[in-house]
Subunit: 210 residues, 2 copies
């Protein structure tokens, strides 16, 4: 644990289990990547993937010089799940159940020879099984893509997974319902593209989501 | 439009409609707030609310000196919806449908006399209707809470809402299904707290979600 991953707020919500971190990352689809540009903070949503202790961040070489830096880029990456709304009997105790990881580190461009593997990790993270169903990147497509890699060495994980804080003698109005409404991600009916034959079955990568 | 909200990557996805921005913010529950601490980027998930052109960010006075700054804090705030997975016939064209707002500005602490209104905006944003059902904050609770306010003046909105890019003559394998799988947020069955009488009806703030 480093100075910046030490939790000053509600340290009891901290979690050092790598399994919790990995599952949290693997179940998420968007990472929010923060960096400093000309002294000012910038946060951008990015696709990502994971291979063991490495996080891959996917951008485009067109997405600004910051991604092209051969020296790498100091980043903070946040990945958050909102798991529930916590209805307490006071505004102050109203809360959210969540799992969040905040990662600090130096992101480096993935070298050309490793880019295909990194893109496979990102694609398989977003749409498991899809890589084998589709055409892999051409050399030109690979050249047009930037992937950054970041070690999962300096990470702060916080989890709240509980009902509302309530004290039997806190004087709140007990005639008010209190509890949790869980939140989850759901997938809708697949919408085929105009160039997809209507008789084509859904691929495994899609049926696995439904 | 400022230099830092000008889109260098896929400018056709930019959207200047304030209605799109407001709806995107009002439908989201978590904002990712980036700032610079000792020269390094930090990104944290935060609850938020909106009142017209003002965004309120909710933290705790315990969450670090950065939130207590009377001089305010330079921030970048990203709010993102992932609306769908886009299954193309190549890894390169695989994509996501999304709506994202990236806001830049100077966040200031809400003065004591306006804090209750700001907290109401955050609570009503997260759980519409809940404020009137529960006990409002006490003076002590208000003092223990920091809310930051940020003007929605410098904002970049990007939207992708389309099927996979596909060209009738691109040579991809047409026997592969292509299309979009929509993603949305769903609420599970409410779980009452131990101190909630089982005969109590669900409040309107909860039934409105289901």
């Amino acid at each position: 644990m480093s100075e910046r991953t030490r939790l000053t707020r509600k340290p009891e919500r901290g979690n050092d289990d790598p399994g919790v971190l990995h599952r949290l990352l693997d179940e998420a689809r968007v990472a929010h990547v923060g960096f400093v540009r000309r002294g000012c903070p910038v946060v951008l949503p990015m696709a990502f993937g994971r291979d063991g202790n490495r996080l891959f961040l996917h951008g485009s070489t067109g997405a600004g010089a910051f991604l092209d830096s051969r020296q790498g880029l100091e980043v903070s990456v946040a990945v958050t799940h909102l798991d529930g709304l916590v209805f307490a009997r006071s505004a102050f105790d109203s809360s959210m159940n969540y799992r969040s990881a905040v990662i600090f580190g130096h992101a480096m461009p993935v070298p050309a020879e490793d880019k295909q593997d990194a893109l496979r990790a990102v694609t398989e993270h977003l749409m498991p099984g899809r890589w084998e169903e589709v055409r892999p990147p051409t050399p030109k497509e690979l050249a047009a893509t930037t992937v950054l890699v970041l070690a999962l060495d300096e990470v702060s994980v916080k989890v709240r997974a509980a009902g509302p804080g309530e004290d039997p003698d806190d004087g709140e109005d007990r005639s008010v319902w209190a509890g949790v409404v869980p939140i989850h991600t759901a997938f809708g009916a697949p919408e085929r593209s105009p160039l997809t034959d209507p008789t084509l079955p859904l691929p495994r990568s899609v049926t696995a989501l439904l």
